[in-house]
Amino acid sequence: MTTAGALQKTTYREAVKQAIREALKRDERVFLMGEDVGRYGGCYAVTKGLLQEFGEERIRDTPLSESAFVGAGIGAAMAGMRPIVEIMTVNFSLLALDQIVNNAATIPHMSGGQFAVPLVIRMATGAGRQLAAQHSHSLEGWYAHIPGLKVVAPATLEDARGMLWSALQDPNPVLIFEHVNLYNMEGELAADAGPVPLSGAAVRRPGRDLSVITYGASLHKSLAAAERLATDGIEAEVIDLRSLRPLDDTTIMASVARTRRALIVDEGWRSGGISAEICARVAEQAFYDLDAPPARLCGAEVPIPYPKHLEDAAIPQAETIRAAALELVRPQGRTA
């Protein structure tokens, strides 16, 4: 028997699952639908056992019809339910892009505020499993471009556990991106861990020499890089964005004001990605605090390749984050 507040060993996957269970139990308007969420137990085993626990009305296996079941989620949300739509991965969300961008994001505005779309869409995202170009996208930055949407990327167990309930309370469509490589991540979580704020960046590691600004799976690579950098005599401050839309300018700029150097790490492609947006904001708001131009380490300009050595080279790694930080703090040809 555990006392409330006592830490328990768990995984990111289990944290997401408990978040879904809690939501289903607390609010009868909540239901989950998506491909293989029921009988299969979820593509990433997140929803394993939930069909048996909650039944077919609340855990709905859908046909392979992303546009229809995302649109149905929008309609059901407009009509007063609180659906959680699971799109298996961001890669398949493109089939529902019209519903997300032309309906979910626009109906509150087009209707003059008469209808809200309190819909939560969960999607797995990211690369690193040799699934090749069509199964390895990181498009959360793309979605963060769209007014009317909220975009979050829980990278920790607390956020995996706590963002879902907050998302369900939000009257706006919220897209939750879970990186595929985080599901197996182990850690400790309070037994009574509850909702967390949907927005606001978090300083996961304070430092003085540079601000590493990142999210999702890249957070943990950045923290690993920070450990190595400490032995190099560089103290990196690592910021977990948590929310990509809205971005937390206050936390970012306060950090840059302290460290005077910014390195944005994003698994998404460099050109026109969320890293570009953050660079622009840093240049706009913290230009005179900077000792060096804002730097970025992003996905290479290539569709994600299948062989491991090429896939590894295509996305940020702890080693390349460390190298980019070294270059930023101690540029070649100059003393620190």
Binding site: A68, G71, A72, G75, A76, M78, N102, N103, F115, P171
Partner: protein
């Protein structure tokens, strides 16, 4: 159980009145468009009035409606006041959608009017969701989803019909087949032009209706609604109709023959029903003249309402992008 329509004097007057209101509203919109009071896209419903009046008029207050960008007739038939509707066409803040949507995006919460959807086929999944919510709450409502035959080519049509049938959702799919998707004639875009047969392929009860006959449309709708409310699952109506005007105000109509248009005009739903009502003695000439006069006055008042409306301040530009709360 929906009551069978009693085609008595009152009901006949109601049907004709509704169709006249739509016809005169649309004609006024065309006029205002040439005066640049209405901008952007304007898709007129002239010739198709029997569909909106027959379908929407048969719905109850518990039902919901998803329509397309050619939805002014459906909005009027549902009871959205003509003043706010016209103000929305202008983009004024006293418009049905506070002026934010315009002609293609009429929304009205009190009457469960879920747009006003400008992406062909984009409304069908929404209707599936409305039906799903109603079924999960064990409510009595039906989600009525109206769309043109152009939507049948979109993937959403097939996904939505399949899902609605699979989950036995209370959705009434109404295809207003006016034979042209903008400039694309149906024979050039559909390998199977019998649209109601496509619905049958999803095991949805499906019927073809004369969309120029308001009584036939209403009767078919009531039957379908009864079946849905009795738990039979989704129903499908294919209403054969025709738009007398172009797709929008920009359309030069190069793709169809003027003689075809004239042939369909001979089947004008308003003239047809009016003539029948006169011949059967249900209505008199004076009744019809009075209805025309009243509709005309209503349109003029709506224009005045729109003209008198205020423009939303630019300072409020980003309003409604995100909601603070779910409206009740």
């Amino acid at each position: 159980m929906t009551t069978k329509p009693h085609l008595n004097r009152d009901h006949a007057r109601h049907l004709l009145r509704q169709m006249l209101r739509i016809r005169l509203f649309e004609e006024k919109c065309a006029e205002l468009y040439t005066q640049q009071k209405i901008r952007g896209f304007l898709h007129l419903y002239i010739g198709e009035e029997a569909n909106a009046v027959g379908v929407v008029g048969a719905l109850s207050a518990d039902d919901s409606i998803v329509a397309t960008y050619r939805e002014h007739g459906h909005a009027l038939a549902r009871g959205i006041a003509m003043g706010p509707l016209m103000a929305e066409m202008y983009g004024k803040s006293n418009g049905a959608s506070r002026g934010r949507g315009g002609s293609m995006h009429i929304f009205d919460r009190p009457t469960r009017f879920y747009g006003g959807n400008a992406i062909v086929g984009g409304g069908l999944p929404l209707a599936v969701g409305l039906g799903l919510a109603e079924k999960m709450r064990k409510g009595p409502g039906v989600a009525a989803c109206l769309f043109g035959e152009g939507a049948v080519a979109e993937g959403e049509f097939h996904e939505s019909l399949n899902l609605a049938a699979l989950w036995k959702l209370p959705v009434l799919f109404v295809c207003e087949n006016n034979l042209y998707a903008m400039g694309s004639a149906i024979e050039r875009t559909e390998s199977e032009t019998d649209i109601h047969r496509k619905a049958e392929a999803y095991r949805i009860d499906s019927h073809r209706v004369d969309g120029m006959d308001v009584v036939a449309v209403e009767a078919a709708t009531r039957k379908a609604l009864d079946l849905i409310r009795a738990g039979a699952g989704p129903q499908f109506l294919e209403c054969m109709t025709y738009r007398f005007r172009a797709h929008s105000m920009f359309d030069a109509q190069l793709y169809r023959d003027k003689t075809e248009v004239e042939r369909w005009k001979d089947r004008d739903p308003i003239k047809r029903f009016g003539d029948w009502a006169l011949a059967s003695g249900l209505l008199h000439k004076e009744d019809i003249e009075l209805l025309e006069k009243q509709a005309s006055a209503e349109v003029e008042a709506a224009v005045a309402f729109a003209e008198g409306g205020a423009w939303e301040p630019v300072a409020d530009l980003c309003r409604y992008t995100l909601m603070d709360a779910v409206p009740t």
